[in-house]
């Protein structure tokens, strides 16, 4: 059963099997194969199965139908690997048939039969200079179906009577038209070989791009009978094209005894070869290779200049398409990051709990889309509340992923009625089992009993929180236990303070105290305490706002380099 691979202008690929004797193709819903491409006619073409195999018939499409880059007039036979172009849609008949390209270690053919043009020597012929021209018109010869299906022999497309200037203009205009609009890079590569085939004519062609330091064949065109038979290119030619950025032409190699040592030319009975770099400024993206075995189809110096020019235009378009694709991928990534940010933001509590005699305020600002800082409030039986502030090591998405793990584990354990010490020990073991070896989270974990005004806490490596008091120095609650997730067995000391009227618990992540000024001076605890003390008589949100304002003044426009998180608990007067 014959398969078809349909590639639409948006790059989507569809694989289907030819089962019926006839397949109508077009934009209209009445077709067997409906193609959503405005450049395809409503009723465009038909593939027919007959006694001699499959044929392609153009049904009078406005934009015409191309087979292997050649316009289809009437009916032509199809062969596996043939490429059908309907507008900007490509259909590969019989699926992709890969033809390899071998780079053989043979020396560079040199002599009168060889032309090499340096990167600065590529000039299109003057528009007023006549030269043997070619035409992009469809084949009109009465060749066999096999000939019609493959790239036409170069000789058939040469029209010495045509004006060179018109050909060049046609090439430039066609290149502009083909390269003007964005399309998937695979289609650009196909269009380049189509254009080269219609302008210069070749028997075989290969477009290869440098990827990860290797030259990879992207589009290979051969006559139908040679599908799958490797094209062999001299490594010396490849080296000169890629590294010296030269455009190379060998003409009538078979008659030149100097080429007897070149199996890649003699063995394949090749008379003429052109190989040009795909060059965008000083960057060589790959090469374009064409050859011919037709004695009447020998390439000329003018052909070389035209091919080199086409390759230059194509290289710019390929580079632009790559940049465009990269921009699209970046946009998609940014969109995903925004969604991730919304999810992470949703994990943080939207509202502070109503705790009689207390008010709580928390906020977190990641320095990137998402971050590893978090805070949480968890209600316990008897009116008690857990308050936590965590800071996962690292930044961005990796830290945010681990923060989600920490957040979920904390919620699950907090509801299990364990002591503060046991909660942290189990949380540590759980995170140690799941975090990578160099990852951890610091955590300040506190349970507020609003009836007794007791704040019982564990500080697992978190930046020292403070209790701000009206008539006393700030009381530090320094770390007394390892950050969570670092080592399997860690011990956690439990502390307890009594919250007096007006007392403020100020927790923060290191993004606050380590915030840098333009002179790279850290914000530090002194500025933090000074800003908080100035607002300590006000609501919790005002205290946090005062610290944030002081920090912003300290930053003086310098971007934040770390997530900034604060949790403020204040006992009413």
């Amino acid at each position: 059963m014959i398969s078809l691979v349909v590639t639409t202008p948006d790059g989507r690929r569809q694989h289907l099997q030819l089962t019926d004797a006839s397949l109508h193709i077009g934009r209209s819903g009445r077709n067997d194969l409906v193609i959503d491409d405005p450049t395809v006619s409503r009723v465009h073409a038909e593939i027919l199965r007959g006694p001699g195999g499959h044929c392609l018939v153009d049904l009078g499409a406005r934009c015409g139908t191309l087979l292997n880059g050649v316009s289809v007039a009437g009916s032509v036979h199809l062969h596996p690997g043939d490429r059908i172009r309907l507008g900007r849609t490509t259909i590969v008949f019989g699926g992709d048939t890969n033809t390899p390209v071998d780079i053989t270690p043979t020396p560079m053919p040199t002599g009168p039969g060889t032309t090499m043009l340096g990167p600065d020597q590529i000039r299109l012929p003057a528009l007023t200079t006549p030269f043997p021209a070619v035409t992009p018109s469809p084949l009109t010869t009465s060749g066999t179906p096999a000939t019609l299906a493959g790239p036409a022999p170069a000789a058939l497309r040469r029209r010495p009577s045509q004006d060179a200037a018109a050909t060049i203009m046609e090439l430039v205009l066609e290149a502009d038209r083909q390269m003007l609009f964005h399309r998937p890079i695979e289609q650009i590569l196909e269009a380049i070989l189509d254009l080269a085939g219609r302008t210069i004519g070749y028997e075989r062609a290969a477009l290869m791009l440098v990827e990860k330091g290797r030259l990879e064949p992207k589009v290979v065109r051969t006559p139908p009978a040679e599908r799958g038979v490797a094209i062999t290119i001299s490594s010396a030619i490849v080296e000169r094209v890629l590294h010296r950025r030269e455009s190379i032409l060998t003409s009538d190699a078979l008659r030149d005894t100097r080429f007897n040592g070149h199996p890649s030319l003699v063995g394949d009975h090749i008379r003429s070869v052109m190989c040009v770099p795909l060059r965008d400024d000083d960057k060589v993206l790959g090469l374009l290779y064409v050859d011919s075995r037709e004695s009447a189809g020998l390439f000329t110096g003018q052909d070389l200049r035209i091919l080199a020019h086409l390759a230059s235009v194509a290289a710019v378009k390929i580079e632009n398409a790559r940049l465009f694709d990269a921009a699209v991928r970046t946009r998609a990534l940014e969109s995903e990051m925004l969604q991730a940010a919304a999810i992470v933001d949703h994990l943080l509590p939207a509202d502070a709990p109503a705790i009689p005699g207390y008010e709580v305020f928390g906020h977190s600002v990641p320095c990137r889309h998402v971050g590893g800082d978090s805070y949480d409030y968890i209600a316990l039986p008897g009116g008690r509340h857990i308050l936590t502030l965590g800071d996962v090591a690292g930044k961005g998405l990796p830290a945010a992923l681990l923060m989600c793990c920490f957040h979920s584990a904390m919620r699950a354990l907090a509801a299990s009625g364990l002591s503060e010490q046991e909660t942290m020990s189990r949380l540590n073991r759980l995170l140690h089992a799941r975090f990578p070896p160099n990852r951890f989270t610091t955590c300040f974990f506190a349970v507020l009993d609003p009836e007794r005004h007791h704040l019982t806490y564990v500080n697992a490596g978190q930046e020292t929180p403070f209790i701000l008091r009206r008539a006393a120095d700030p009381l530090p609650l320094p770390p007394a236990g390892m950050p969570l997730g670092l080592f399997d067995e860690s011990e956690y000391a439990v502390g307890r303070v009594t919250m007096d009227p007006g007392d403020v618990l100020l927790c923060y992540s290191d993004g606050v105290t380590e915030g840098l000024s333009p002179a790279e001076e850290m914000f530090g605890q002194e500025r933090l305490l000074s800003a908080a003390a100035g607002a300590a008589g006000g609501p919790a949100a005002t205290i946090a706002a005062a610290v944030t304002a002081a920090l912003e003044r300290h930053h003086a426009g310098r971007p934040h380099e770390d997530d900034i998180t604060m949790l403020v608990l204040r006992r009413s007067e």
Binding site: V392, G394, N438, F440, G461, P479, A480, F487
Partner: protein, 126 residues
């Protein structure tokens, strides 16, 4: 971040220069220590006196170095200057290396298990 390596009998002394922070500095430390452990150099001293700042990723990597050394029956000792980093970082370092923090290099070197190889001093740079 630059790391100079000195050798004192069985001990590889890593002199760290620069901020030990997320990214290439942490990766360099990880690679260097892993390479030494893979070559069976299991006695490693990290000299942090040239490190003005350590962030949480740096702390994480110090912990990872210790874990990797323990897995190979090795030891990591820290030669540092107390009071250089802020409280939370120093507290965590204390907790991670309770018996392996030294302000004197000779004391740090003598705290390793007795050397098996001949005395030698050479230098190199990464």
């Amino acid at each position: 971040m630059k790391i100079d390596i000195r050798i004192d009998r069985s001990v590889r002394i890593l002199d760290l220069h620069g901020r030990l922070v997320l990214g290439p500095p942490v990766e360099l430390l990880a690679d260097t220590v892993q390479r030494l452990l893979a070559d069976a150099h299991i006695h490693i001293m990290l000299n942090l006196r040239g490190v003005p700042y350590i962030d949480s990723a740096g702390i994480g990597e110090l912990a990872a170095c210790k874990k990797r050394a323990i897995e190979r029956q090795g030891e990591i000792k820290i030669h540092w200057q107390r009071g250089r980093y802020h409280l939370a970082i120093e507290t965590v370092i204390h907790l991670m290396f309770p018996d392996a923090l030294f302000e004197d290099e000779k004391l740090a070197l003598s705290s390793f298990a007795p050397p098996g190889g001949p005395a030698a001093r050479t230098t190199g740079t990464i």
